[in-house]
């Protein structure tokens, strides 16, 4: 039987950040997830913004964690070798009502100790962002709102955690937790049992289900759906910063935001749902996104879309972040309500939870040989000609372009598969090296990536999946 000091349930942003944080100490840590890859559910379908917390409700756990997480990203993204840009946001008022709300929002920011928020005149906004509507009446500038690649954030932390001794079990669903004498004893999964003293419930939208297992569920989670469009890199309107709407009583509005890879992201909707598996985009939702965002940037057109997607925010009732070590069940640490800011807060949640564990009696002895650094997969498309030449000399597969839209080479794809926590599916490749993320959406490269996956994983093509088992791409050879 597997044994661990700590078992973390859920390899999304939160669970993975905790795993990396705990890998700094002399501990046996196991991270489990029901999915075939790390990356979580909500954590792979969001706006990819590292918030400052300027608009959080003051004096809540959420505001404290988000506000303290933001400054951590300069260092963390350097350690993990992942892209991160402090591009700043402009909260843009286009109606009198919205304009009249700016002052309150600025006060809130100050209460959250985000003191670098400042007024911008319409002229100043137009000078910074010429594509913003002429109707703009003014706005707030929030300089430290930033963008990140949320897939790489999670994958890089997972890789680094493994490098420092964490064990990750994927396609592993937690089905039961055994408690003996008021103390956590076993975590049961569809792949076997793990003996442990501590369990951390970072199961996102399903954290209430896990809490129910140990009989500690006085709350409920439900999904709040958000739909998005990703637009082509070559749109004839350039947006340089995150353009935020002013939330009103009626609507939270839709934002427009450059992605770290140079596309434009627009959305999201906010739809309360019952069904935790409803990840369908709808004509109505997408229409709402377009109409909403065009109030801020009128030139945006759905003709420029290369992709639609949607994510489910884990919303708690009663609402808000909640982290607790339960007296009734010693060793069970519950995390819930990590709704729309969890990518940002994850790294602070990880520190917070580590402290909770310490208070609960877990000894934290720093590992002398902890290595905070992870080296990313070299991106052929971003190198200079000299570097490209050198790389091809070392590994000719760097001379073989597989994804033509994003210029991804065979060498990058092979490395994505061979790494610790390697890609096992088309989506896994896509999230690690972007093959298939471009304007042709894999029309050209999927059939080639399929063969590479089959070769590298040594499985027949009909076993290669888009993501989970059951999502195979081909059914076999033709007759």
């Amino acid at each position: 039987m597997l044994q661990a000091d700590v078992v973390i349930i859920g390899a999304g942003a939160v669970g993975t950040a905790i795993a990396r944080e705990l890998s700094k100490y002399v501990l046996k840590v196991i991270l489990v997830d029901k999915n075939e890859d790390v990356g979580g559910d909500a954590s792979k379908s969001n706006s990819a913004i590292i918030h400052t917390g300027f608009d959080a409700s003051p004096d809540t756990l959420e505001s404290q964690l988000v506000v303290s997480a933001n400054p951590m990203y300069d260092q963390i993204t350097k350690e993990l070798d992942i892209p991160f840009k402090r591009i700043g946001a402009i909260l843009t008022a286009v109606t009198q009502e919205e304009f009249s709300l700016l002052n309150k929002i600025k006060e809130k920011a100050y209460k959250n100790r985000v003191y670098d928020v400042d007024y911008l005149s319409p002229q100043a906004i137009k000078a910074l962002e010429p594509e913003v509507t002429d109707k703009v009446l003014g706005g707030l500038y929030i300089p430290r709102e930033s963008i990140i690649d949320p897939f790489l954030l999670v994958i890089a932390q997972a890789e680094n955690a493994v490098e420092n001794g964490v064990k990750i079990l994927l396609s592993t669903m937690v089905t039961d937790i055994t408690v003996k004498n008021g103390q956590v004893q076993f975590v049961k999964t569809n792949q076997g049992t793990i003996q442990t003293k501590f369990v951390i419930n970072a199961a996102g939208l399903f954290c209430d289900k896990i809490a129910e297992i140990v009989g500690l569920c006085n709350f409920k989670e439900h999904p709040r759906k958000g739909q998005f469009y990703v637009l082509d890199k070559n749109v004839p309107y350039k947006v340089n910063r995150i353009i935020l709407p002013v939330p009103t009583k009626l609507t939270k509005g839709k934002l427009a935001c450059p992605t770290i890879h140079g596309n434009l992201l627009i959305g999201p909707t906010a739809e309360e749902l019952e069904d935790r598996f409803d990840k369908a985009v709808t004509a109505q939702g997408l229409q709402e996104v377009i109409e909403g965002v065009r109030k801020l940037v009128p030139k945006i057109s759905k003709e420029d879309a290369i992709k639609q997607y949607c994510g489910l925010r884990p919303v708690r009732t009663p609402e808000g972040y909640h982290i607790e070590a339960y007296k009734e069940v010693k060793g069970f640490i519950g995390i819930s309500g990590i709704r729309s800011t969890g990518v940002t807060s994850s790294v602070a949640v990880a520190r917070y939870v580590t402290n909770v564990l310490n208070n609960e009696g877990l000894d934290l002895i720093p590992k002398p040989d902890f290595n905070p650094y992870r080296i990313g997969i070299k991106k052929f498309s971003e190198l200079s000609d000299k570097e490209k030449e050198q790389l091809i000399k070392e590994n000719p597969k760097y001379g073989h372009v597989i994804c033509r839209c994003e210029t991804v080479t065979e060498a990058e794809i092979v490395e994505a598969i061979r790494r610790p926590v390697g890609a096992k599916s088309m989506d896994g490749i896509k999230r690690r090296v972007r093959a298939g993320m471009g304007r042709c959406q894999g029309g050209f490269c999927s059939s080639r990536v399929l063969d590479i996956l089959s070769r590298e994983l040594n499985i027949p093509a009909e076993k290669v999946t888009k993501n989970e088992a059951g999502s195979e791409l081909v059914i076999g050879k033709i007759r």
């Binding site: 639609q308 000609d385 000719p396 029309g443 076999g476």
Partner: protein, 425 residues
Amino acid sequence: MLGLQYDVVVIGGGPAGLAAAISAKTEGVNHVLVIERDRALGGILQQCIHPGFGLKLFGEELTGPEYANRFIRQIKQLGIEALLDTMVLSISKDKKIICVSQEKGLHKISAGAIVLAMGCRERTRDAIGIPGTRPAGIYTAGMVQRLINIQGYMVGKKVVIMGSGDIGMIMARRLTLEGVEVKAVVEILPYVSGLTRNKVQCLDDFDIPLCLSHTVINIKGQRRVDGVTIAKVGKDMFPIAGTEQDIACDTLLLSVGLIPENELSKTIDIEINDVTQGPVVNQKMETSLEGIFACGNVVHVNDLVDNVTIESQIAGKFAAWYAMKHANQSGKKLLNVCFGENVRYVVPHKIAVENPQEDVTLYFRVKEPAENARIYIQSGHEILKKEKRIKVRPGEMESIHIDGKMLESLNGDMTISVRKGGESQ
């Protein structure tokens, strides 16, 4: 970095690139190079193993590879060089090309003239925004054509095809022959968008249901597609409530249009036409940048490869002339070829009239099908030419011949329009 120099460099080794290279060489330039990112020459034709190519040019029905091979043989005979497995990464206005391959690494090529022949890509589910879940089992038709015909994989058992473009209809037949159940071909327009001959030979002959004026409004299934919802559309192209119909299937194939692949062209600000999404060209197939030519699907999406070949021969010839510094005719006038009633686009977009001027063929597509149609070529109110067609359809490219003498004497832009028979001007 390895540096090479050629008179004419052709980017793309499909039928367009091949024909351009051959014609450039026959015009008398010494060093012609074709760069192709795939393992073999032939472009999209490699995966088109059905017959139907070459009727116009050779008077016989060849398969795609057979058609391509006629040109590949000539390439070899003429000693034209080809770099395979080589991807062009960038081009510059001064005609320097950077490409990459496993064998040669990064290398730079200087060209006297460039011919762009990069073909096109397929429109995707996301480009047209079909609502629903995102499971496996959604493919573009050309991708499936490649999976089946080149890689030998079967993709599913029950298929719905969205769009009645040629590739969609050809794949409907191909899948049926492989024992797959093609549940329906769903087309939003009230008529098929591909060639009539493909409707007859690929759908009618195999009793494949064709749902015109219908579209897919939802995709279902968590991991693999398990069905789609289709609905009838009104004149405004919006789904009509109450006409929804579920079809169980494990695969959705999209044949919803092709987009010229002009990412390279755009990086050097070549003028792109809004309708064709390809470079604006004159009758020599020269783009807005001198010495850079374009032909084939990169200019506008063709339904017949024979037309691609003809137009590419022109591009190759003039690229060669440019590289050999044939005197540019002085005092040439530039005419715009405009389009009027029921014409979606026309190629070439411009004519640089010379003295003497050769005859020019205009290729165009209509917006709507029409019977007993009259094609008018006008300059202002003056009718320069009039021709009859029994039938015109958007899926079938039309052409009309323009006399060089007439162009020489012309003083203003030219407009092409298509009107119903019987209407007088």
